[in-house]
Subunit: 227 residues, 2 copies
């Protein structure tokens, strides 16, 4: 069993098991929403796809952001702390990087899991139990490398076990170079993170949720994620 | 001044200064060849381009490899130890990953330098003196991440100075996680490295050459590199 990491979503290959990470904040938010009682999260790449899907469903909560700003007409943003109690059965979520990476991974991997530090142990165990090669896909920022996702990828890669590719070994070594998760996440130079320090501390908590979000199916352009 | 690293050549952006790394072995070989007395190295992406250029020139040494194997009809391979004495003024070189990355970088960066551990201090100093943003481009393996190039990129990024992007910070931390250069290069899982242990030890020697190979011009599809 191989464990691999891709630091940018465009590198994603056709692995049997993919674990998508956008730790600040989309995949942390998906974990929190499903753990809190939402029954499903539809992830879309585009804002208009989210609006259209919400219209078709006739129900559900619209959440997301573009550049960390609430989208006009949406019910909620992309802070995991906005999802501590369900406001409906269905969440339709669209974010700048994370939900796009999930949609892309759905096209490439047989099984797609959603990873974060919140569900660190649970997602690593679930991926290991699948027994196939695992690729951890960092959502990154506008297609580029980010330290927060790479840190989380390294933590997951170490726990999944298996034979590490060069990139997985690099991610594990990178993660070990930080004294704590919050240090690893705060090292990210994304200027948009300056305004969401409380969310970063929230997302740095390790293995506090047992949920393992996974792709159930594609519904048109939307990836349906369930626990 | 920003210092950035791209771990795969497809991520290369339009930086003022690019430093291309294929430490095992193309960029080490280019440094060695120019330090040994070759006046120029033409780098081509394709074998046929190298053969055609050698034909046009009517002189010069044909060097290179595909998958670490000598190319039929070529004079020399891609070991830096084959270039300790010049066999002519001009070397025409084509390799699996490195020369392709140089040709690609030539299209994106204003100044292209060639980096390795052999010229570690010299290339970092030259890039810093240019005073513009620097992007270190890892050639990688078939478009993917490799530990050897990432290690070398981290060593160069640390010496260049400037404000590190997330990827540069990751490369610096990765490089620091190895006790020595030879450990960093040997960590690379490329199976083709099994047969070239002596070259890896050779390429792990730090700052033994003062040469700073740089792109002089494109000659058709070939990048002309001079000291």
């Amino acid at each position: 069993m191989l464990i691999h990491v891709v630091f940018t979503p465009d590198e994603a290959g056709e692995a049997p098991t993919g674990i998508v990470i956008d730790v600040i904040r989309a995949t942390s938010t998906i974990c929190q929403a499903l753990a809190s009682g939402y029954e499903r999260v539809f992830c879309t790449a585009e804002v208009e796809e989210a609006r259209a899907l919400r219209g078709e469903l006739g129900a559900g909560v619209l959440g997301g952001e573009r550049k960390n700003v609430l989208i006009p007409g949406f019910d909620l943003g992309n802070s995991p702390r906005e999802f501590l109690e369900p406001r409906g059965e269905t969440l339709v979520l669209t974010t700048t990087n994370g939900t796009r990476a999930i949609v892309a991974a759905a096209a490439a991997a047989e099984e797609v899991l959603v990873g974060s530090l919140l569900n660190l142990d649970a997602v690593a165990r679930a991926a290991g139990e699948l027994g196939s090669d695992v690729e951890v896909v960092c959502a990154g920022l506008q297609g580029g490398f980010t330290l927060d996702d790479a840190y989380c990828a390294g933590r997951i890669a170490e726990l999944v076990g298996g034979e590490r590719t060069d990139a997985a070994e690099a991610a594990v070594r990178l993660a070990r170079s930080f004294a704590s998760a919050v240090e690893g996440l705060r090292a990210c130079g994304n200027p948009l993170h300056a305004g969401i320090g409380d969310d970063i501390a929230w997302c740095a908590r390790e293995s506090v949720l047992a949920v393992v979000p996974r792709l159930a199916r594609m519904d048109g352009a939307a990836a349906e994620i369930v626990a």
